[in-house]
Amino acid sequence: MIRSALCAMLAAVATLAQPVQAQPGIEPIQTYALTNARIVVAPGNVIESGTVVLRDGRIVAVGANVDAPADAVTLDLAGSTVYPGLIDAAATTGLPSVTRATRGPQGGPPGSFQQARQASEPPPRPPEIRPDLLAADVFEPQDDELERWRATGVTTLGLAFDGGIFPGQTAAVSVVPGEHGTYALRTPVSLQVLLGRRRGGYPGTLMGSLAFIRQAFHDAQHAIHVEEAFARDAASAPRPSYAPEHRALAPAVGGALPVWIHASAERDIGRAIELATDVGVENYVIVGAQEGYRSVDALRGVNRPLIVSLDWPRPDAVTGRAYEMHIAPIDGEDEAGAEADSAAALTLRNNAAALTGAGLRVALSGYGLDGPSQFRTHLLAAVEAGLSPEDALRALTVTPAELLGLDALVGTIENGKLANVVVVEGDLFDEDGKIRQVFVEGRRYEIPDEPPRAQRRAAAGDAATVDGEWTGSIEMAGTMMPFTLTLAEQDGQLSGEISSEMGATALAGERTGDQIVLEGTFAPPGMNAMALSITGQIRADELEGTITVQGQAPIAFSARRRTPGSARMMREGGRP
């Protein structure tokens, strides 16, 4: 219905002499009048029936008594609600992964060609320590990623790297197709700091990264001193080094560039606050804050904004049950323990509500989730757990817009702002609410009904079969340990095992598209059982991902399929 109206309008518009560039696959920017709609102008500010006019990628009129301009494509949205486009302030979409980055080629034995060649090249800079890397410069989204973000109502993304220590500087982009470099709304937005580890070098532990980060801020401060002295008296002052790391950190030391410090667990939140205080950074935001509800007093004490992740930790890790099971594993059902876990799960989901209720400035983010696919379900779960729809909306519009430095451009439906709006049939924060149309900078996207899960699987299907025997190696304590991963799939459910010199561990999990998630219990001889989880991405016969043993930092791995399809053949009895 809307589509046919649109086609008619397109024909009409084509006769007007508008300088519309018709790129293939991208709808031209039109003038739209969204009429008879319920309009959520901003959190707590609702027009029950009104019109929004979008022209040249901006909002040019909004109100109860606004007339649709004559040249506008008028969309009658009776029964629908128009919301400001949502903002995820910290998404990893389209950025190179730091946690899954493979280390450069190992140097060969002394005297070998390989070593000689490497020696002649500057050593590669570790991806964990690249404070000068701008997310906007390396943003390369797949088209369907942006499409999936739009389907969740997200029109602006903050871009943040997925790990490391100083992985780079964040940016803000519009969720529209664009050539390299044309997405950015703002860059840099902030300097990212994580209490991560570097693989294959200093700092390789939490204590190491805490010291390293302190030292880095001292160094940047020192570089500023040197540059100032040099500016005063170049003849006798020491020469500045202009090292990229120092130049990247200098604006953060001065407070001009906000620092985003990632901290999920209660104790890491404490460390993040202490770190910021120690290095004299006042303009900072805490990202993650999954256990923020346990740190309310400390967070109120510093009163810094939070980008709260919807990627909740495992409840048993928070209740301590994982540890209890570690001490005294039991067989059979543990009903009371599971009950404690489910209570903790609710508490974790209620985290954003607890923090908002404490008067803290909260932006919500899917940081840590698997892209946009889980964003809305987790958002709805947070609302169900107690976050008011109004607070949720603020945390996805006004507050992230401020934290991205874009409050003049996005976050509300006001004149002059980018034409970023979401048309919802029903309520955005209700499971039955259906996102029907999304406008990003004036471009209109219809959101198709989500295909059933089974169909999605079939579509993603054969491009990413996981059946088979995969071989690879992981780095443990400085050595490479080979392993074999045997997997079989039935209707998206995976089973199999991973085996190495440390024994075999049964695994179960699932595949979504080319992503796999597996879990098992790792019980090497003479040691206590530990939870083991594997995430990975399949690319034909290559599998890349991370292996995490309970209490340890994730270890990146890559594996190759040895006998494609053999497991399936076995299961189906097709093997001779």
């Binding site: 060969g108 001292h218 002052a237 020491p238 049950r321 005294a328 543990d334 404690a340």
Partner: protein, 431 residues
């Protein structure tokens, strides 16, 4: 049934975490117990009164104040809370910053939910020195904690404790990267390399200190030198502001390290493991170093081949302050049995053996004015046993830290109870 039980265990953790710290407001009295004071002999049928976390009175003729919470000590032995001078429990995110060999700028981050803390309490342990691992010649700075299970990591920190740093010598340091490819192996790979590395870095530390002194005297164009947290830590070590806990085995390397320290104007505070300490006991005493060793854990690697069970007694006899440590989440539960071996091998007195897990480790963590003996004014940290701590069948019934009960066998989820509940379930299942 058993599932309820395990759930109870984790709920206990939550309850402890949530319990307000108001117990200390009430006086506590342990009555009618055998009190092993360490510094003033054994008191039969004695009473200890605790007020605001400190020992207010101790003796045979002490009255129990009105309103005090009374712990009946009939048949019980009360000793000072046991102190572990070498532990790697409750450390988050790795114990070895093994990427480089000199890393004194890193500081142990404590995680408060490590159940080893609770196990240690079940073994009467109330304080511990959490050390960096032994992969590095100069490792990271330590944390001194009290076993306030349920508190957060700040709540565990032993307030007023000195700063310590871990040094390490010998095999662990030189083989730290032995599995790495040739061009990635870390220096040093030999004992002579360890000594040279120490001398190189402390020399750099001296230069760094001089650089700052020059700046403070008005030099360097008013531009402060680059702050170097690593070199600053080395300067702090040389100035005695950070005390050294040195992992060591062989006599020759112990002598080497004492000479290096003396050359750079500082002292080794405590040698850890120090299994050949008996060979250099006089030199240790002369240097002023203390020793924290194993009771009978030896022969497990080449540099431990010359260890003997008499090590503790011989060093103590030559005037070295000796403690016995756990270095393990398992041995930490039975340090009292480890200490008892000092009586078997080398004929230590009972009190001397007890000192090895109380007053002596208290000295080695720099807190002997607060803990290590049962004296008026000291912290009310106690291990209450159902028999003499050295009797093989004795076990800890209650452990108090700052006058609060943090372990109580009556309420604890013990393996015994767990097994009972399992047997019951099995029987029910069969019926």
């Amino acid at each position: 049934m058993r599932s309820r039980f395990v759930a109870g265990a984790c709920l206990l953790g939550l309850v402890l975490a949530a319990a307000p710290a108001n117990v200390a407001a009430q006086d506590v009295a342990i009555r009618n117990a055998t009190i092993l004071t360490i510094t003033n002999g054994t008191i039969e049928n004695g009473t200890i009164v605790v007020r605001e976390g400190k020992i207010a009175a101790v003796g045979a003729d002490v009255d129990v104040p009105a309103g005090a919470r009374v712990i009946d000590g009939t048949g019980m032995y009360v000793m000072p809370g046991i102190i572990d001078a070498h532990s790697h429990m409750a450390i988050e995110g790795g114990i070895n910053e093994g990427s480089e060999s000199i890393t004194p700028e890193v500081v142990i981050p404590v995680r408060a939910d490590d159940p080893t803390i609770y196990r240690a309490l079940a073994g009467g342990v109330t304080s511990a020195l959490l050390l960096h691992g032994s992969a590095n010649t100069v490792g990271g700075q330590a944390a001194v904690i009290k076993m306030r299970w349920g508190k957060d990591s700040d709540g565990l920190m032993f307030e007023g404790a000195p700063r310590f740093v871990k040094f390490a010598l010998g095999e662990n340091v030189t083989r730290a990267s032995s599995n790495a490819s040739d061009d990635e192996r870390r220096y040093p790979k030999s004992r002579m390399g360890v000594e040279q590395l120490l001398r190189d870095w402390f020399t750099r530390g001296k230069e760094y200190e001089a650089e700052w002194q020059a700046y403070e005297a008005g030099g360097n164009n008013g531009v402060p030198p680059r702050t170097n947290l690593r070199l600053q830590a080395l300067v702090d070590i040389m100035n005695g502001d950070i005390k050294v806990q040195a992992h060591s085995y062989r006599g020759d390397e112990i002598l080497m390290l004492m000479r290096v320290a003396e050359d750079f104007g500082f002292r080794i505070f405590t040698f850890q493991h120090v299994l050949e300490g008996y060979k250099v006991a006089d030199e240790l005493a002369e240097h002023g170093a203390m020793a924290s060793t194993f009771a009978d854990f030896w022969g497990y690697k080449v540099e431990a081949f010359d260890a003997i069970p008499f090590n503790m007694a011989i060093m103590a006899d030559r005037g070295v302050v000796v403690s016995v440590n756990s270095d393990s989440g398992e041995r930490v539960r039975r340090l009292y049995q480890e200490a008892a071996m000092g009586m078997k091998y080398g004929g230590m007195s009972e009190n001397q053996a007890l000192e090895m897990i109380t007053l002596n480790p208290a000295k080695q963590i720099g807190m002997e004015s607060r803990i290590g003996s049962i004296e008026v004014g000291k912290d009310a940290d106690f291990a209450i046993f159902n028999g003499h701590p050295f009797a093989p069948a004795s076990r800890v019934e209650k452990t108090l830290v700052d006058g609060e009960i943090y372990f109580d066998r009556d309420e604890a989820t013990t393996l015994e109870k767990l097994l009972q509940s399992r047997t019951r379930t099995t029987t029910e299942d069969r019926q």
